[in-house]
Symmetry: C2
Subunit: 457 residues, 2 copies
Amino acid sequence: MAETLAAPLIAADLDSWLVERRRSSVFEVERIPFGDMVGWHFEPVTGNLVHESGKFFAVEGLHVRSDYGPVREWQQPIILQPEFGILGILVKRVGGVLHCLMQAKMEPGNVNDLQLSPTVQATRSNYTRVHRGQGTRYLDYFVAPSRGKVLVDVLQSEQGVWFYRKRNRNMIVEVGEDVQAEEDFRWLPLDEVWRLLRVDNLVNMDARSVLSCLPVAVPDWMDTAAPGGDSFGDAVRRSLRGEGRPHRGGAHILNWFTQVKTAYHTSVNRIPLAEVSGWYRTDKEISHQDGKYFSVLAVAVRTSNREVARWTQPLIAPSGQGVAAFVGKRIDGVLHVLAHARVEPGFVDVVELAPTVLCNPSNYRDIPLSGWPPFLHDVLTADPGKVRFSAVLSEEGGRFHHAQTRYMLIEAGQDEYTQVPPNFEWMTLRQLTGLLRHSHYLNVQARSLVACLNAAG
Amino acid sequence: MAETLAAPLIAADLDSWLVERRRSSVFEVERIPFGDMVGWHFEPVTGNLVHESGKFFAVEGLHVRSDYGPVREWQQPIILQPEFGILGILVKRVGGVLHCLMQAKMEPGNVNDLQLSPTVQATRSNYTRVHRGQGTRYLDYFVAPSRGKVLVDVLQSEQGVWFYRKRNRNMIVEVGEDVQAEEDFRWLPLDEVWRLLRVDNLVNMDARSVLSCLPVAVPDWMDTAAPGGDSFGDAVRRSLRGEGRPHRGGAHILNWFTQVKTAYHTSVNRIPLAEVSGWYRTDKEISHQDGKYFSVLAVAVRTSNREVARWTQPLIAPSGQGVAAFVGKRIDGVLHVLAHARVEPGFVDVVELAPTVLCNPSNYRDIPLSGWPPFLHDVLTADPGKVRFSAVLSEEGGRFHHAQTRYMLIEAGQDEYTQVPPNFEWMTLRQLTGLLRHSHYLNVQARSLVACLNAAG
């Protein structure tokens, strides 16, 4: 199917389904004082924000000391969620075309209530029913013994600046049998899912994370494309397939990554939230004294289509819109992206691969250009003719309040960026995505951008 | 070269070189009271055993709660060594034959003083010279920019029951240029290195760990063998090459591993050594009240061939000889081994793949058979005709006192063990060793046995 950027990104029937889903449910989110939360409270001595069940998650403090980056020591609130949840997408081949069972799901932190989510998006508390709600639909396919064929099952990290060691199972399960799409669900052909990534705030973070693993799990889907052309999209597909010679061999890439991991010493200690310095708490928020980074706040939710009809919970609200961008270029004709081996204090293994640029630019508003992260200025001022993908997408609406990030793919010329800082390395898309089978390699924003690569023109 | 088990395992000239190296140096190790250690002391409040520099390592306490295994909660002393060391072997092709530069190195915990070690075996404290000794020889090849070609560089765990999150860089670097073997070093052909693994307490733990990665790094070395025969060794080589159909696909193996990882909840908290319950401290040792598991003790060392001529240090002394065994069998003609996804509290990611059996049998002397770990009794009473490899090898002599483990490969019939407990899975050698490129998969005893596979007859 020939398809141009001018075509509508959302097919009319999908659009009307989304509108209908949004209308058919009550979903009201209201900011409330911490004191109005039910089941949540600040522990007397530690000041940690916890749920009375000891489940779900908690907000505690972190003390970080590191010889990486310009800031060597700081304290901050952090979300603790030691349980492993399941993010799973059910896929099925229909007439040779791979389809994904996507869910229209409302989350309290979403700017637009409803986004497209994986088939299953469940914390362990959810699916073991700590909150005594309804069961999680389609869960049977994702727990052993599965009713389908498990193509992907890998623990992947989430934001290491907001979460302490949070990881979820990213799963893809293929079914042969017919599986009925229930009310909030819809089977979508894969091409359409990729296209929907271009729509602002539609495909949610969990879906993007799971979708990033799909080309690795089902390599034959790519063989239907004919990447003989010279477009960025063609170069993406060739690089994903592993065509052409990488700038650096696989052993070199792993050597570089291990070197960065061992070059820095980062000590991360959990501390009571009450002892976190530089932050203050009012009855409605916990914020940094400079107004930067993020705040912790509380919301009340009333809904008609979730396991539980009413609840209150804390959310993390970033102080501004983030930017996550891979700079790519063709080296001897093969598309490479510039990966950043980045320290985030909440990572289990401290360093993971991130996009070339990943930050909240508003945190640098009072800092001179020389103190900005590498490549940030270039990305913010990139020639629109070089921008191959750009969309504002949301971080997880179950934990984050209006957390939006501009995701970008920018193509540079072969002669640009020939010298890069030691924590950066050029990798082909095959090299990058080959690491997705394993934990501890690609951070969540890098995974989002890997999914978006499939949507690049 | 035709070679039989009756051939001498150590060539005469190598043997005389080892004897000569042992004779040429003074190396005296003496147990001393803790109070006679220099630079080491128990901290006043915590009781932690630390070095005055804050470097090297420390002995603290651990409190473990887990829903895995028969014992759900315990406390124990544990070694903390947050630095990343380098374990590196230099390799070179001479006349088409791969050679390894091995070191004859004395360690205070070795039962026999001297063992064959990697070219470089250095903690960060060593190679940044905290102890103000001589520099580490050949180190230039292993730090960036390397003078050779880095084939392997991966952080691998060490004993998660004795170390808290200890990992070392396992590196293999190939040189093209001639590199002179200095006094304590010797270039050995790879076939000879494999054969030496059959000699009790000769190839040390660090060397075995690095050597396990070699077949993955240099796959072409295997092509010189002609694995058409029916011997166990031939089946090993075919399975390492990836010939034949695995019992379970790669996606299933990763699914199973993630499932085990997420099925258990293990909480691991560091506590002061003084608060560890069930253990007692005298002036010469810290031991468990039942005389099981291990003791912490102190030694004084006098030597003529190390960076520092005299020192004192603590060591961990296990209470008995360990056993580490892979049970293997041919499934439809393809050799598989039975891997155990095992919780060790000191692992960064809590679960790694271990041999089928890994334990200290003396810890079970007063426990009825029904309480023994799976397969332990079978391994201890295995028909000698099914034992394909058996040697007593040492754990790292720089931290462990006389820590010996019997490493075994046992071949079962295809019809045996068709039902295994959920934490066990059959894997081909290609599936198992393919994971060695990455951290957090194979524990140190599994890696030792992977090296020993190359020595199996």
